[in-house]
Point group: C2
Chain length 453, copies 2
């Protein structure tokens, strides 16, 4: 099949567009089908997106695709979390050391850029307004609903299903024997809100930080945009006794809620009530499946294979890393797509499940623990160990500032819990953590037990 | 909506046909759509079914529907398990006490009978050869592919999705926000085989037993039919080093496999090699979802809501119990389908998940533990406790010979493990289990801890 060098990519979102670039660079004739209209003409419909935080795995992929330069221009470094207490006090926690940062990018802006880059290749063709209805294994074909509502059959020897969390390609695979699948929703929803720029175009909050208003069972976050604004996201239970979307059903209740929990944001959000009314409360899903491929014919990538909740900022990064790893396997297995697909599926699913789990855990960290003195102490001790011992990587750094497989990071996280439980049990650790030599003794001992982490 | 008294049932399998009877008796105009042809004319296509074991929950439902008498005629009581060792030795384990039995029925025969009974109601209409493509919430309509391949839209205020493990109705609900779903396959498959009747129509093995050839990692079972034959099922890993379907790829390997593991069956199965070649190795899936309903408009029943593996013989029984419980709720909530659907979903999902778990556990019991002396000792002690203490029900009896909610049975199973771990730790229990008074002391003590189980 490699001989044909023809591929269909279903989905022109972030990962689909990037993967089209990878394929085009390898000389494939690539047809990209997308259900939405061409955002280069139609514009980008906002109102339900969470800003993206690009980190090392994402950068590696765009670098490998040769497009890092262009994307750097639309990204804002965030060097740490800025926590906002209810009384408006600020506290900054760096993400890493030596100016390590994650980068805020707007989903629409990045997608547009990726489409432009892919469209420069003469061997990439786009078909917008084509809604994928299903993949038919018996015909090795995909049925699309075209712009005039007509059904259209596209035969394709090699198909990449990059059509997102609600993938129609995956839905077809789901009907095949022995395809394991799960979709699992949080009881939480999210709503996009906005902090506009100052009149002079400057940012109303510290620009180079990810802002968090942690409130225990819920939270607000804000990420900077290049135009001086912040895209904010409120995460809240759908139903509940007080702090829940179903209770915030009028301007009065919304305002009272913000006055109680986020008073410092009210002067920053002139369109709060309009935004709250107009933007939907969207759901948060985790999708797992196994396998990610069908014979040598279909492969799922990105959210279609592993949609995760956004709390570790790794959804796009994981999808981009799919591209890097898959591209490497094309060489490893000499363009034999049967072996590539099986090997990719067998090795990468474990990582997809691991980042899904880590993302769920990080919700608790962001909405609750970042305001907990014990957790903050742990973070400081982790940073100290990271400074002193080059072989110690805190979990956040492993996920964000390395290319260590997610499954290894998950395993290391569980092992690090053992380490910190021992350290935090030391007498007077709250006072003496900066100078207590026992920390290093415990660390060396723990390292012996878990070599190489 | 109750006023209209119109309902659509999608699926005329066992549970769909029975539920149509319940609705018809309440005066509903019922339209039943089924993708297969009318088996009353076309006959029943065998070759991939496992015989059913009807137990108390099933009988209660058919009794409530007023059709128990008719069904009794096609059911054969099985009073226990008959284990076949490799050397052909037999060992019998009763299922309960006082001639308690489960009843072997053929899927085709039972389905046919249920269709006949439903068809006697003038307010039940059948539409065969109608394949459900999808439910459209925006239209409150179902799209069917009719016998002439044309698409047909059926609007319906009240829809019951009883279309099995691969339910198209559920697949549509799956696309709605916040619908949790999982399908999970075992690495095992099953294949139907046959032991025909003797020439005089008598059974070649003990008629009133469920036969098991337990072999550790795999097993063969056989259930009696009224015509003197047995329907057998081989459960085997799909892939493996020796005992696996992918290794049994020729008459030679199949014969050698049976000679090694099931030598006593070879003279009983004259068509073994033909059956093995012709019948597929089918997959075993567990389906879980939440919720089971959509507003007051759609409700899932039977395998569509909770497909389980067959090892506790509870798939049909659980689906029939859905009908009993749902029918009771129609009275409880005064035919208000919004409240009925929400209450049914909220209370019954826990039971569906519990029987799914118990069925998975029972595979290990059937294929492995029933040949383990320690397990057999435990079973004997459980039977002794059951004889002496009317308030002690072994797990099997709770599931099979009672209407205790499955979730309670699962909880009790875990609690009983604690009891038997203590009893089996008594000195010389292998020798003195019949007379050891400590058993009753431990039991009374345990009962205090878990009152009322």
């Amino acid at each position: 099949m490699g001989k044909d060098k023809k591929a269909v990519v279903v989905g022109a979102g972030l990962v689909g567009a990037l993967w089209a670039v990878f394929l085009a660079k390898r000389g494939y004739d690539v047809s990209v089908f997308e259900q939405r209209s061409d955002m280069r003409r139609a514009g980008y419909a906002g109102g339900r997106s969470i800003n993206l935080a690009m980190s090392d795995r994402g950068w590696k992929a765009v670098e490998q695709a040769g497009i890092k330069e262009k994307l750097t221009q639309v990204a804002i470094p965030m060097y740490g979390r800025m926590m906002h207490s209810t009384s408006g006090e600020l506290a900054f926690q760096p993400y890493g050391k030596d100016n390590q940062a994650i980068y805020s990018v707007s989903r629409g802006g990045l997608n547009l850029e990726l489409l432009n880059i892919a469209a420069e290749f003469p061997n990439v063709k786009f078909f917008f307004d084509h809604k994928c209805r299903r993949f038919e294994p018996s015909e090795q074909a995909i049925w699309f609903e075209g712009p005039d509502d007509s059904l259209k059959k596209v035969e394709a020897p090699l198909i990449f299903g990059v059509d997102g969390a609600f993938s129609a390609i995956r839905n077809s695979l789901q009907r095949l024997p022995r395809f394991n699948y799960s979709q699992s929703y949080l009881d939480y929803g999210y709503k996009e809100l906005a902090i506009p720029a100052n009149e002079d175009g400057s940012h109303r909050l510290e620009k180079n930080a990810l802002h968090i208003w942690p409130r225990g069972q819920f939270m607000l976050i804000g990420l900077p945009n290049v135009d001086g604004s912040f895209t904010c996201t409120l995460f809240l239970p759908f139903e509940g006794s007080e702090a829940a979307f179903d209770r915030l059903d009028s301007d009065q209740t919304v305002l009272a809620f913000f006055q109680k929990y986020f008073p410092d944001t009210i002067p920053l959000m002139p369109s709060l009530l309009d935004d709250f009314r107009q933007n939907p409360a969207s759901a948060l899903v985790t999708v797992r499946c196994n396998p990610w491929h069908y014979e040598d014919k279909v492969l799922l990538l990105g959210d279609a294979a592993h949609a995760i909740v956004p709390f570790f900022g790794q959804g796009m990064n994981a999808g981009f890393e799919d591209c890097t790893l898959l591209d490497e396997m094309i060489d490893t297995f000499d363009e034999d797509w049967g072996r590539i697909a099986a090997a990719f599926s067998a090795s990468r699913i474990e990582d997809g499940n691991a980042i899904a789990e880590l993302a769920l855990r990080n919700f608790i960290e962001m909405r609750d623990l970042v305001a907990d003195p014990k957790f903050l102490l742990r973070q400081k001790i982790a940073a100290r160990l990271h400074e002193k011992h080059s072989d110690f990587l805190p979990l956040y750094s492993m996920v964000t500032f390395s290319n260590i497989p997610y499954s290894k990071a998950l395993q290391a996280a569980d092992e690090q819990n053992v380490l910190f439980n021992r350290i935090l049990a030391l007498p007077d650790i709250e006072q003496n953590w900066e100078s207590n030599d026992q920390i290093d003794v415990i660390f060396q001992d723990w390292k012996q037990m878990h070599k190489g982490v």
